[in-house]
Amino acid sequence: MSNDIILSVKGISKTFGGLKALVDVGFDIQRGEVYGIIGPNGSGKTTLINCITGFIKPMAGQVSFKGQDITGWPPHKIAHIGISRTFQIMRPYYSLPAYKNLIIPLWSPRAKTTGGWRGGGKHGDRDTVAVDILEEIGFERDSRVPYKLASTLPTGYQKRLELARCIAMRPEIIFCDEVFSGLSMSEIAGMLPLIEKMKSEGITLIMVEHRLRELFRVADRVMALNFGEKIAEGESSVVIENKKVKEAYLGSEEV
């Protein structure tokens, strides 16, 4: 294993009332890899993302990004240093056209420093960059799709818009919270090259997913969670054969 660890998570725990949502979860992520997080419903995958990206404060544990302790930072500061995320429940800015959705990340202080937006402050510049990014993520530039209201877009495009919102920040890590769920096979087939492309651009991807077959096509390593505990980690082919993982998904064989 190389030593270029970009994100290190140690002993994260979180309880909601009496429910143990996360128990002592930890993992290390290397720069440029695609890391999958799998687990049955309610196993704490989204809570884990929320803890790392600052939307929930973990009760114990430590998150460090490039050696810097970022535990308990507010979400906007975490986003500012280069950790971006999508939301499981897509909520684009409904009242804005699709390309105007990207004005918001492009306006952020990070975009100014990372060159996501290099305009000279004129109004038109961010619009152009926004349409460029949408094209990059699979919106047809010459069609009317980028100019439609976000609320009228089909699910596939809304998912892409979520990703575009992350990419506009030029982040180093993207947490994808179930980007494949609710998509048709052909829409997923369209998304996979995007994931490959982001990976080839050196972005580290952490994907929470239910669609295992699609995830395993892109993921380098996978971690499995069950009832808030990490039950397996490693190559996808190894993890899926793990007895505990099978039990978590299918139930125990002994009755």
Partner: protein
């Protein structure tokens, strides 16, 4: 006999307004420029026309102050997602500060009003800062308390003239300065705000209303943006307050009256929320209406409420939204 039905066709306004098409003929230009010009010129010549009815000239000023408050409410409620019932607080803070600058510190009018506006906006933003994480009805309740709290504090500590208020403020130099100061400022803020909400900063602020989590995830501090939005809204409110105190030459507890919070909301409701122009038009209708109804004595409130209810039930989208839609539509009868 043939059955007929009404067909409605929308004009492609956006295409027309942005392209060369918009300036292709006088008719097109008039079509786009007509309504705003009518409003701007109408409000500017109004004081001259009302020379015939001097009593109504004062109403113009009040009308414009309420228009500013309605603008600030509409902006906060429909673009930022903060339902702010603190219009009276903005007016009160602006009015008292202006009185303090003018009477206690002897600043002239043209200095005390702008100073009170800026300082008042800062003060209001600072005082509302703790409530900014609140949303929806909770923010509404807390902001409703602020003006009530302010009156009690002034009463209890007997500061700033106590219940008598501060008297002896300078008036504005003459009647026409008085009218045109508020008219021009109102028009400036109306078109300024309409422009502002479509700028990139404006889009970020509107994003907070749609989805504040995503704004956070984009690396922008939501609290800071909300504070900025409150500053803009308070700026308009405080100007209104500073102006009113100089108009009446008096700053008293009635500057914190609930009217300043409620009537702007009613204006936004009948004018059409989220249009900004609707807020102004709403108060241009409501304020004169309540003056007309003075003739009915105590019956006034009943009629006022009946009209308001009528608007809300039959035209809940608001006048502005309705009129805009009709303006951009052809209607014709066609055979079924």
């Amino acid at each position: 006999m043939d059955e007929m039905r009404k067909e409605r066709i929308d004009r492609g306004v956006r295409v027309r307004a942005s392209g060369l098409y918009a300036i292709s003929s006088w008719r097109e230009m008039l079509y786009l420029m007509g309504p705003p010009l009518f409003l701007i010129i109408g409000i500017i010549v109004l004081p001259i026309i009302l020379e015939l009815a001097p009593y109504w000239k004062r109403v113009i000023n009040i009308m414009c102050v309420y228009a500013l408050l309605a603008l600030s409410f509409d902006f906060l409620a429909n673009f930022v997602g903060l339902v702010c019932l603190g219009g009276a607080f903005f007016v009160g803070v602006g009015g008292y500060l202006s009185a303090i600058f003018n009477v206690y510190l002897h600043f002239p009018v043209y200095l005390s009003i702008p100073l009170a506006t800026v300082c008042g906006a800062f003060l209001c933003t600072f005082l509302l800062m703790p409530c900014l994480p609140l949303r929806g009805v909770y923010f509404a309740i807390v902001t409703l308390m602020y003006p009530l709290l302010a009156t009690r504090v002034i009463e209890a500590l007997d500061i700033f003239g106590g219940t008598n208020g501060i008297t002896g403020l300078d008036s504005l130099p003459n009647e026409y300065v008085e009218h045109y100061a508020i008219i021009l400022v109102t028009l400036f803020f109306l078109y300024g705000m309409r422009r502002f909400v479509n700028q990139d900063v404006g889009l970020v602020i509107r994003g907070i209303k749609d989805n504040d989590q995503a704004v956070r995830a984009s690396g922008i501090s939501v609290t800071r943006m909300k504070a900025f939005a409150v500053f803009v809204a308070a700026f308009m409110g405080c100007f209104g307050g500073a102006y009113i105190s100089h108009m009446y030459m008096w700053a008293g507890l009635s500057l914190f009256a609930l009217d300043f919070s409620i009537i702007p909301i009613a204006s936004v409701v009948i004018g059409g929320g989220g249009t900004l122009l609707g807020a102004v038009i709403g108060s241009f209708i409501l304020v004169p209406l309540s003056e007309v109804l003075r003739n009915f004595g105590t019956f006034r409130i009943v009629i006022y409420c009946a009209i308001l209810t009528g608007f809300i039930v039959f035209k809940s989208e608001g006048i502005m939204v309705y009129v805009m839609r009709k303006y951009h539509q052809f209607e014709r009868w066609v055979k079924v």
